[in-house]
Symmetry: C2
Subunit: 499 residues, 2 copies
């Protein structure tokens, strides 16, 4: 390999190592760090991110990118082309942001989260409003600094979902809303016909833990190259494909919370563990985008994990761990795990209503950025839209506009990726079944390797070489679209609720 | 505070944060990392150490040190003076080492350890010899590069024990040998009079763990600012005084191994947790030197933990955890935990014979560096000296010259600090008792806070502001010396073995 490209690759590997080290610091903070360690950890994290920035954002890397670009072909599928493209995009973003804005955003991100915690605790939006207004102003400055775009919101979105602009996102999410609102209403009209009573009660924590490890292993998660721990707010991360860290949480009265939570995080973890060997150690080593990552967690958690076929094999295992569930029939159990009901809190929402929570946030973010809604109006707009789409109004702002940390953390443009992930999950599932019609039968018998094999081949191994629409087009022959997802939900909930 | 000093402090804090982050990566590797994670971790660790080096070793820091030195007084006890002195010494060391030598040492350190593992497994020194010869040559180059000194060995020693040169170390260790050899012989002559039979058997692991946590807490370790985990090779480290990580290991047939191992590591941990607040986040935040650190672990493990008074309180607790020990009397128990016998392996040696293992290594290192012994002669020299000092000959090199990783890891000059720590531990203990004669009575009743208080005031709070001889002189009014340690051992073992 030529010299400028080699030098660029070496530098990018070094920066990637520093970024991964900083992620380990975050993992440790969530999983291991004693309470007193926070102040020093903030310094360590800051120093590490600063060092990574310094090694990446300088003029020298810009020159290396230009020189490397002259050495590799302009078009093609090679790692080299993808890496130079990745470097140019990321370096360009970093260079466009003035240092004072970056520093001010970092400061405000830290401050606003503290204020948000207080506002949520006091259920008082007015406490948070000044911080939110400042954050929106800074994020608008950031979007403007990143340069002219068809839609200013593109600048926010592309941080998490490069390659899929606002117009496309609005198309998919708009179709989703059109299909979902009447379906949610139809299910709500028959709310009484499905009960989760079979799953109430107390479930031993050690057994929940054993079952979680069992399902992760059965899905194909390699515990020689990863681990599963407890965290208050479950997440997953990877130090490398050979060191992937999942977390979950256990509560005696929420046995499904840990089970599906583990399936969800394992979906993310499998993606990371199965990135292609040739990408290891480079910035292309990891899930392509947030939506692609979420498509994997949702596919395993919802499409597989909440299906009748899956529980044909797993209900007996569940009942071995929890003898109190011995009397539950398969059909009642599956209806119970799929019970749908509009609720206020996104992270507790069921599969059917979840995306409507996302749509509301996406619309509000776009309106905020465009100036159609002011920060001060958010509680009213939030509640109005909740009533329109989900038919309920939060009893207070803690259960409404104050429920998510994202805006306090400056994470505008992040929410829509959750809903895109839902759409993609069904597109991939349908294509996997077209290619390997035996997959549902395998799952009924506890064999999940064939599904994992298809995902590895069509999604995982590519890492960040392709964007979400590119991956979906190659895997399914279609653009990202809402219709398969809606079709899947209509069929599933018509059956469950006898619509 | 003035401007050059502030700039220097800011830079040193950043470098310190990067160094502490790299230590967390090591902790994670020993305690959490799944087996597959090693390759990526090596890259991450290397990138982090490289970033720390880059931020510290440049010309700019040299100019900051010179400018800051003009702003602070030349003499005095202030943090500012100590920090500039520390920076000048460390920066000077880094600058004197050519980059190619540093890289070659890093490479050889990694390679030689792999070879050493193989040689030890095969019990074949000849496998290790070429690597060891290369390492000695590189370490000699390193010592020479660091500049002329009274004794070339000073260059090795000062990496771990700045402020205490070879002549002084040789004086203390020489006195120690003179006193220890006849004492060990006298004890060996009465070997049969003390038995460890009361402590044989199997001890529940969960209860060992509970007791370890109990003793660490009782010693004053703050679990809100630290934790205790399991590691194959126990160690301790700190991310900050508010985040100190201890490790120990549990084996059913070695109940004292975990108990005293925990006391030992907690001794290190208390030192780290009690560094003065004003030093937090700076490179002065941590134990002064290796010998000072070891003085703390040995003081708690041996002087406190293996004393009759300590077990007056703790034997009943021990027997509550382990009912099978109910019949053991206090005197038999204390004799059992202090049983002394010459053995081949340093890390398993008892309190009496331990320092003789160190002396042998110190003498061999000096002879190697001076060319009086060649690497090829080491097995023979090792065994001859073992027989002279401890009266035994290792059955093979795995239990002799190949037992320690230190030389494979380039850690020449490290061993003597263990013996110096032993000497200092008794000097500090005697001074603590002079100042607070109630300490032994407190310990008999389970109160260890008064001892901790004295150590905090006289040792811990100073961090790295003072060297070992400075700390010992202030705390005890004496230079570092062997006589108190020998007096303590003579009295203790005369009593135990009725000499």
């Amino acid at each position: 390999m030529s010299s400028a490209y080699s030098a660029l690759l070496e530098r990018l590997r070094e920066v990637h190592s520093l970024e991964k080290a900083s992620e380990l610091l975050e993992w440790d903070q969530q999983v291991c760090m004693p309470r007193g360690g926070g102040a020093a950890r903030m310094d360590q994290y800051g120093a590490l991110k600063g060092a990574a920035h310094e090694r990446f954002a300088g003029d020298e890397v810009g020159r290396l990118i230009d020189a490397a670009a002259r050495e590799v072909p302009a078009e093609g599928d090679s790692n080299e082309i993808a890496l130079v493209r990745w470097a140019r995009r990321e370096w360009g973003r970093k260079r466009k942001l003035p240092a004072d804005l970056v520093a001010e955003l970092a400061r405000q991100t830290s401050l606003a989260q503290e204020v948000w915690v207080e506002a949520r605790t006091r259920k008082d939006f007015s406490v948070f409003l000044p911080s939110l207004e400042k954050m929106v102003a800074l994020k608008r400055r950031q979007a403007e600094a990143l340069g002219p775009r068809a839609d200013l919101y593109d600048a926010w979105l592309e941080e998490f979902e490069p390659g899929f602009p606002t117009t496309e996102t609005a198309r998919v999410l708009g179709d989703m809303k059109t299909g979902l609102v009447p379906l949610v209403k139809a299910v709500a009209a028959k709310a009484g016909s499905v009960s989760d009573a079979p799953l109430r009660g107390r479930f031993d924590l050690a057994k929940q833990r054993a079952l979680s490890e069992e399902i992760a292993r059965a899905m194909g998660f390699d515990f020689e190259r990863g681990r599963l721990d407890v965290a208050a707010h479950p997440f997953s991360m990877s130090c490398s494909p050979d060191d992937v860290r999942l977390t979950t949480r256990y509560a005696e009265d929420q046995v499904l919370g840990s089970f599906f939570g583990t399936m969800h995080e394992t979906g993310h973890g499998l993606y990371e563990q199965n990135v292609g060997d040739s990408l290891k150690g480079t910035p292309l080593c990891g899930g392509a985008t947030m939506a692609m990552h979420e498509s994997q967690s949702r596919l395993w958690e919802n499409i597989v994990g909440r299906s009748l076929g899956f529980w044909k094999h797993w209900l007996p295992r569940f009942q071995e761990h929890f003898p109190q569930a011995a009397g539950i029939g398969l059909s009642d159990f599956v209806r119970a795990v799929n019970r749908a009901q509009s609720s206020c809190i996104r992270v507790e929402a069921d599969e059917l209503t979840y995306s409507l929570h996302i749509l509301l946030r996406f619309e509000l973010e776009r309106d905020l950025l465009a100036g159609r809604v002011q920060a001060a109006d958010l509680p009213r707009s939030w509640n109005t839209r909740m009533e329109e789409s989900l038919g309920i109004v939060p009893p207070d702002d803690a259960q409404g506009v104050l429920q998510d940390v994202h805006w306090a953390a400056g994470l505008f443009g992040y929410f829509p990726t959750y809903a895109l992930g839902n759409a993609i999950s069904v597109q991939l599932w349908e294509s996997a079944l077209s290619a390997s019609p035996g997959i549902p039968g395998d799952i009924e018998q506890g064999r999940m390797a064939p599904l994992l094999g298809w995902l590895r081949e069509n999604v995982h191994r590519h890492g960040k070489k392709l964007t979400a629409p590119e991956l979906v087009l190659r895997a399914t022959g279609r653009p990202i679209e809402a219709e398969p997802y809606l079709r899947y939900l209509r069929a599933k909930y018509s059956e469950l609720y006898k619509l």
